[in-house]
Subunit: 331 residues, 2 copies
C-alpha cells in the first residue's frame, strides 16, 4: 500500500447497517409470497410488515455485508472502522453493541425520529437456500454527511458493499468516500454483493470499477454478470485489465486473485458446510487483513479461505472461533 | 381432566416474557463479572447495561420458560394461550411475533411508557454451561389485572413457571390465576424453573404445591431442593404424597411420573446433545399436549421425551422439526 502516512485503520467498511431476522420456511412460503428464491429483494415498510407477520418464529443477529467483513477482519487482528446508519431504537442498539463488541470502531451517529433500523428477513428453505427481503429503513439516511473524511483518510483500505448502490443517497456517499480515500493516497475496495444487485446497476458498476476501484471482490456469478459473459476465463481477463487487484471466490473450488501479470489460485480449505451465509464477506475480511499487513497475494487468499471455512461450518455470518493467530501462522 | 365444560384451550402458560440475548464467553468473563456459573440471576437496568456492554456480539431469540413450553405445545398440536408482559417496543414486537407465529394466542396488552421488554443475557462457557442474567423490565408490570379470567376458565391446564415468584406482583397474579382455574374446575400445573429459584422461595413453593398445584414439573435438583433432601427416592415419595401428579425429569436417565399409586418410568430418547437449553420446558410441552389429549401417563412421558430430544439436538429452545404427527403415532 502506498499512502501519505501510516494509516490508523487497516480497513474502513461502509455499508447497510442491518439486523438479520432469520427463519426456516417451506417452498410454498416462497411461492405464495411471490419471492425469487436465492435473491435479495428490497421491500418497503408495508411489505416488511406483511412478510414478518407471515413468518415463523425467528432469530435476530447483526448482519450487513460490509459489517460482516469488518467484524471478521477485527477478529483476525486488523484495526477496523465502520460507517453505516442505524436508528436510535432497540435494534439499532443491538447492531451498535455487536459491531463494537467485535472490536470495530463505529462512529456513525444514529438517525433520530426517522425510519427504524433496517432489517433483512432471511427465509431458509429446506434445500439450504436463502431468500432475503431487506427493508432499508434508517440506511436510506446514510448520505455524504455520514462520511467522516478524517477516518477515510486514515484507513489503508476503504471497503464498499455493492448494496449501497440500491439507494441514490448512499451511491453519492460511496463516490464521495472513494474520492476522499484516493486524495489521501489510500485504496478503495468494492464487493459486488450479489448478481441481482449487479444486474440492477451494471452500467454504474462498470464505470465505478474502471474509474474508482483498486480492489474488486466478486464471486463467479457476480463477475460474469458484471461483464455479461458466460465464460469465467473471459470475465477474469476483463477483471485483470480493468482493476489493479481482482479477487474471485469460487465456492468449493477455492479462490483466484489477479494483479497485473500475477495470478494466484488457492484451493478451498476443507470443512463441513453448514451454512454459506457470509462466506464471501468473511473471505474478504481475511484477504484484506493479510493485504494490509503487507502479506503476499497467496497469504491473502489463504487467510480469506481459512476465515470463509470457519464461517460456513456453523450458522450465522460472524466468526465463532478465535482466528487471531492465523495471520502469524501463515507467515 | 374433569371440568365444567369442554375447554377452548388445552394449555394456558403464564410466565416472564423474555427475549434471550445469547453469546459465547470464556471462564474469565464469568469470574470477572462475579457471576455464579450455571445459575439464573436477577439484575437491574444498570447491571444489565454493564453486562451487555462487556458481552461479545450476541444472537437474540424469544425465550422465557412458560413461553418455550407454550410454543412447543402448539407445535405438537395443542391449543395454547399465553399471558406475559412485554413493552410497546421493538423487542416486545419480536416476542409477540414469535409466540403468535408459533400458533399461541397471546392476548396480554403491552406495557406503554414503562420499563422496556425483559431480556435474559445467556453466557455460554466452553464447557457448554449457561449462566443467565435476567433484567425483568416490563415483566414486573404483570399483575392480576393481566390475568384474563375468561381465558383461565377456558383452559384445561394453567401452567405457571416458578420464576414468576421472583416478583411480588407476579406472585399475586399467580395465586389469582390458580384460584380462577380451580373455580372453573380446571387444573393448575407448576414448573419449579431452577433449583436456585426454589432456594429463594422454598416456603412459598411448599405451601403452593400442597394447596394449589395439581401437576408439578421438576428436575432432580429442583425436587431435591424443594424437599431439602439429597435422596431422590425420598423426594419422589414426598411428591407423590403432596401433588396429584408429579413429573420428574432426569436428563439422560429419562423421566418419571407419579400419580397416586401409579408410577411410570420412561428412558430418554436417543439423540446427540448439542444444547440442553429449554429441555425441561419442552418436555413439559410434550407431556401436557398428551395429557390434555387424554393419553396415558406413559404416552405423556414419551411425548415429553421425544420433544426434549428434538430441542437438545440443536441450539435454541424452540422446536425446529415438525412433531405434529408424534401424538397420533404414539396412539
Amino acid at each position: 500500500m502506498s499512502s501519505s502516512h501510516a494509516a490508523r485503520f487497516d480497513v474502513l467498511g461502509i455499508g447497510n447497517a442491518i439486523v438479520d431476522v432469520l427463519a426456516p420456511v417451506d417452498e410454498v412460503f416462497i411461492t405464495r409470497h411471490e419471492m425469487r428464491k436465492g435473491s435479495m429483494t428490497l421491500i418497503d415498510a408495508a411489505r416488511a410488515e406483511a412478510i414478518y407477520a407471515a413468518m415463523p418464529p425467528a432469530q435476530e443477529t447483526s448482519g450487513g455485508c460490509a459489517a460482516n467483513t469488518c467484524a471478521a477482519a477485527a477478529g483476525l487482528g486488523a484495526r477496523v472502522a465502520y460507517f453505516g446508519r442505524v436508528a436510535d431504537d432497540q435494534l439499532g442498539a443491538v447492531f451498535r453493541h455487536d459491531i463494537a463488541a467485535a472490536g470495530v470502531r463505529f462512529p456513525t451517529e444514529p438517525l433520530i425520529g426517522g425510519a427504524p433500523t433496517a432489517r433483512c428477513m432471511i427465509l431458509v428453505t429446506p434445500d439450504g437456500q436463502r431468500t432475503m427481503n431487506t427493508y432499508l429503513g434508517a440506511c436510506t439516511a446514510f448520505t455524504t454527511a455520514q462520511v467522516d473524511e478524517a477516518v477515510v483518510a486514515d484507513a489503508a483500505v476503504t471497503y464498499l458493499e455493492g448494496y449501497l448502490y440500491d439507494d441514490p443517497a448512499a451511491q453519492e456517499a460511496f463516490r464521495h468516500a472513494a474520492a476522499t480515500a484516493h486524495r489521501a493516497g489510500r485504496k478503495v475496495a468494492l464487493t459486488l454483493s450479489d448478481s441481482f444487485c449487479v444486474d440492477r446497476h451494471r452500467a454504474a458498476f462498470l464505470e465505478l470499477v474502471r474509474s474508482h476501484v483498486d480492489i474488486l471482490f466478486a464471486n463467479e456469478l457476480e463477475i460474469c454478470s458484471l461483464y455479461q459473459s458466460s465464460d469465467i476465463a473471459a470475465a477474469v481477463a476483463r477483471t485483470r485489465a480493468e482493476v489493479a487487484l481482482g479477487v474471485i471466490t469460487r465456492g468449493e473450488d477455492g479462490s483466484l486473485a489477479v494483479r497485473g501479470q500475477e495470478t494466484v489460485e488457492v484451493p478451498a480449505e476443507p470443512t463441513r458446510v453448514i451454512d454459506t451465509t457470509g462466506a464471501g464477506d468473511v473471505y474478504a475480511a481475511g484477504f484484506l487483513a493479510a493485504l494490509t499487513a503487507g502479506r503476499s497475494l497467496e497469504s491473502c487468499a489463504r487467510l480469506g479461505g481459512i476465515a470463509a471455512a470457519e464461517i460456513i461450518s456453523h450458522f450465522g455470518a460472524r466468526l465463532q472461533r478465535d482466528l487471531r493467530g492465523e495471520l502469524t501462522r501463515l507467515g
